[in-house]
């Protein structure tokens, strides 16, 4: 009974997942494994006997593990720098770090091609410098390029989640350690790392799952030589119509996701200390020491070179430098030169994107906050947590087909409704949010809450005056990602689209599907607008949080 009462706040979220996640999966599973129409008898138990699929599964795991390690390596120092030091323009850098997260892969490929491609800036410089015949950097179609792109996309997750967690951690323990004569490395190793383990675990799990289900990055940047499970599922489901193979691989993918979710929950439980939590402004200080300055300089250089430089090449290409009107591609966005039916003025695309992102964020907070609350104080919750992370590791192709065969009867014929779009976005955003917010929820010092209750505060008052002020930074960080997940159109690619509600990524893809300077220029212009919208939204959410 007590368990039931504890879990009650989670009910809306669980119901949402049951209807929009579990049900479509069961239905598409039923269709896929019914002998005859779409299946030729392949099952999850037999699919890996084919050495080709087995090697795809192993490669998927291997590249995801490598990507996660590299992303942590790059992200943790930056997270520490952002959490501990106060410096000018911090808001800008933080907002900028989120931008890559939403960019369409083909645009990111264009950016890296302009920067690191055979005819890119870096190669041209190196060739001129050392008078080389051939471009020295050959990245396209290689594994390092895939890994680099995964770091590019996901490093913000580590920066924001671990940074947000550290930002609230009282520096008293560090000061005590320093007082006892510990060196800098010793403090990092024996104090900071163990204390932030829950946040690191959560960020690692999320980065791992994003790399694990990587689709566009592997397809476009890896060339044709590499395939993840997600790529194989997409090809089998949408091109070959071999639903049995697709569904079998999807089941394997989900099984691995469950293990990752469980491991992440286990890792978090290893460091269950309630921590002294303080507002970030009390924690940050000026970088006065040489080491602090070096850390900060290194962090900002990394963001500038790895995250911003490729983005800037896109902005450069969004202007027409040769003609007299450099803004040509931007003004063209508002002109329907061919009188086309599906023409979308840029303000409409921006409006649609923002609308869906806001709905997604609202839905995620509405369902996610009570869910995280319930989970935070639940005993024996590891498997539940693992199950809740499942949507992140579920093939979008499979789920899209699941929607198609499930919501097909009135009054539930949602296949053509725009409602499915924020629903699909929320399916990705919700597990992300919960995983991201949980460590902070658990770190809350219970004594503070009990003291408040003892002084006569009601549960809502505790929430208002104790929980919210202390939890606001991590919740805002997680909410930014819920917003960004929708702006970047995660998981919605396989829904039936009604052209009445095109979003910014949809418009970008549309321009890039026809030849010509005008189309390319407009795609770059729209991509630049997408960056602007993402960065300013991220900054705005932070600003609201600070109020």
């Amino acid at each position: 009974m007590r368990m039931l009462k504890q879990i009650a706040p989670a009910a809306p979220a669980l119901l949402f997942l049951a209807v929009f996640f579990a049900w479509p999966l069961v239905e598409i599973g039923r269709v896929s494994f019914t002998p005859g129409a779409f299946g030729r008898g392949v099952t999850p138990l037999t699919v890996l006997r084919d050495p080709a699929y087995l090697s795809v599964a192993l490669f998927t795991l291997w590249q995801a593990a490598l990507s996660t390690a590299l992303t942590l390596l790059a992200g943790l120092p930056i997270a520490l720098a952002f959490a501990r030091y106060r410096f000018a323009g911090q808001g800008f850098w933080r907002a900028a770090a989120v931008v890559p997260f939403v960019m369409p892969t083909v645009v990111v490929a264009a950016a890296f091609s302009a920067l690191l491609g055979p005819r890119g800036l870096v190669n041209q410089m190196l060739q001129a410098l050392f008078s080389l015949e051939q471009p020295p950097i050959q990245l396209f179609g290689s594994l390092p390029f895939v890994l680099l792109a995964h770091v590019f996309y996901n490093v913000a997750v580590v920066i924001r989640l671990v940074g947000g967690f550290l930002a609230n951690l009282s520096p008293s323990l560090e000061e005590a350690a320093a007082g006892l004569g510990a060196g800098r490395w010793q403090i990092v190793r024996s104090v900071l790392l163990p204390l932030s383990l829950p946040a690191i675990g959560a960020a690692s799990a999320l980065v791992f799952l994003f790399s694990f289900t990587s689709f566009g990055v592997v397809l476009i940047l890896g060339g044709a030589r590499f395939a993840t499970l997600e790529v194989e599922i997409y090809q089998q489901a949408t091109q070959m119509l071999r639903l049995d193979v697709a569904a079998s691989l999807a089941v394997i993918q989900m099984a691995i996701t469950l293990l990752v979710g469980w491991a992440s929950a286990w890792l978090e439980a290893q460091s269950g200390a309630s921590l002294e939590v303080r507002p970030g402004s009390d924690v940050q200080r000026k970088p006065t020491t040489l080491a602090a300055r070096a850390l900060l300089f290194g962090s900002l250089t990394f963001i500038a070179l790895v995250l911003l430089a490729p983005m800037i090449t896109l902005i450069v290409r969004s202007f027409d430098w040769e003609s007299g009107s450099p803004w040509r591609y931007y003004t063209a966005l508002g002109q329907n030169i061919r009188g086309a039916l599906f023409f979308v003025p840029p303000q409409v695309a921006i409006g649609n994107s923002l609308f869906f992102a806001l709905v997604t964020m609202a839905l995620t907070l509405l369902l996610g906050l009570p869910l995280a609350y319930a989970l935070a104080y639940l005993k024996r919750r590891r498997w539940l947590e693992a199950i809740l992370i499942l949507p992140l590791g579920t093939s979008a192709a499979t789920l899209g087909l699941g929607f198609l065969v499930t919501f097909d009867q009135p009054p539930l014929d949602l296949r053509r409704s725009f409602v499915l779009l924020p629903v699909a976005h929320t399916l990705v955003a919700l597990p992300f949010f919960v995983r991201a917010a949980l460590p902070a929820f658990r770190a809350l010092d219970q004594r503070l809450r009990e003291a408040a209750r003892g002084l006569g505060a009601g549960p809502l008052q505790v929430m208002r005056y104790i929980d919210l002020p202390l939890l606001a930074p991590p919740i805002a960080a997680a909410a930014v990602f819920a917003f960004a997940v929708s702006l970047g159109e995660f998981g919605a690619s396989l829904l039936i689209a009604r052209p009445e509600y095109p979003t910014m990524p949809v418009v970008i893809y549309r321009f890039l599907s026809q030849p010509g300077a005008l189309n390319y220029g407009q795609a770059m212009a729209m991509s630049s607008l997408l960056m602007l919208v993402t960065a300013s939204s991220a900054a705005l959410i932070e600003w609201i949080r600070a109020r």
Binding site: I220, Q239, L341, Q409, L414, I496, Q514, P515
Partner: protein, 353 residues
Amino acid sequence: MRKHSWLLLFLLSACAVQAPPPRAAEPAAPRTVTVMTHDSFSASESVIAEFERAHNAKVVVLKSGDAGSTLNKAILSKDAPLADVIYGVDNTFLGRALAADILEPYNAPALAAIPDRFKLDPQNRLLPVDYGHVMVNYDKAFLEAKGLMPPTSLRALTEPQWKGSLVVENPATSSPGLAFLLATIAAFPEGSAYDWRQFWRDLRANDVYVSPDWSDAYYNQFSGSSGKGPRPLVVSYATSPAAEVFFSEGKLQAPPTGNVEGTAFEQIEFVGILKGTKNRDLAEKWVDFMLSKRFQEDIPLQMFVYPVLPEAALPEVFVKFGQPPAQFFTLSTAEIDRGRERWIEEWERIVVK
């Protein structure tokens, strides 16, 4: 399918959002014809409006991914069709569409004016609308700077002077990629001394680059596009050079790219009425409309393919720079249907694994 009452309750709000706003009483409310199609579908606003006025109808377009995904979604939703009409099934997928039994025959009167070579389904379940050619494009400036003449055949692409020059799309994920694979199978048939497998082995040895889709191939890998990639040859369309001129807004007087003769494969796109439609009469009207001169003449500048109706006039930029190639390869739909999956799997083993 099982439906639960609690679900109903839960989703009531969602459906409420979806419901159309109540209309003021009109003599006859417009009916809706729903067209399921691929993401590349485009048409002029004014042309569609003409149809809507003439038939007191509203045209709803559902974009459902690339040509392959669109067809597969139509097949999967056979029991509860999403639309009245499907447009965009091409000759590479025609067999799958017919075998899945998702279409109703329609002997449109307009077919009489369309050449027989486009009519691939004798029962008229799928009716031809437009055609185009997947073809290798070359970058004129790049070749000129190197003092090279463009290649003149498929076989030439395996010569050492074109090492590292060609970009193709993966036939497992891309429709032009599949069409180009079929061109090579038609050119170097199975059982001949030099078959398509050997050709692709030679291409691989000649450092061919494989992109997953047209956008990446054309813009990120091909040097002749605005994306300024590294390679001077790309699998694209016969109309791409004309499109480059059109989308330069008067800046270019001649295309920056050219077509490599002897590399084309003909793709024909079809429209069909989906089984189970409740608007059969309006669906027929829509099919008639797509085959009419008005719509046919709108096709070239919207989708950069050719109308099947011979009397439809081509726009000037097509006449000047976008004539269909004199020669092209083709395979019968029966051959394609028998071989498609096996060829793709073999291709993957030869070229990318």
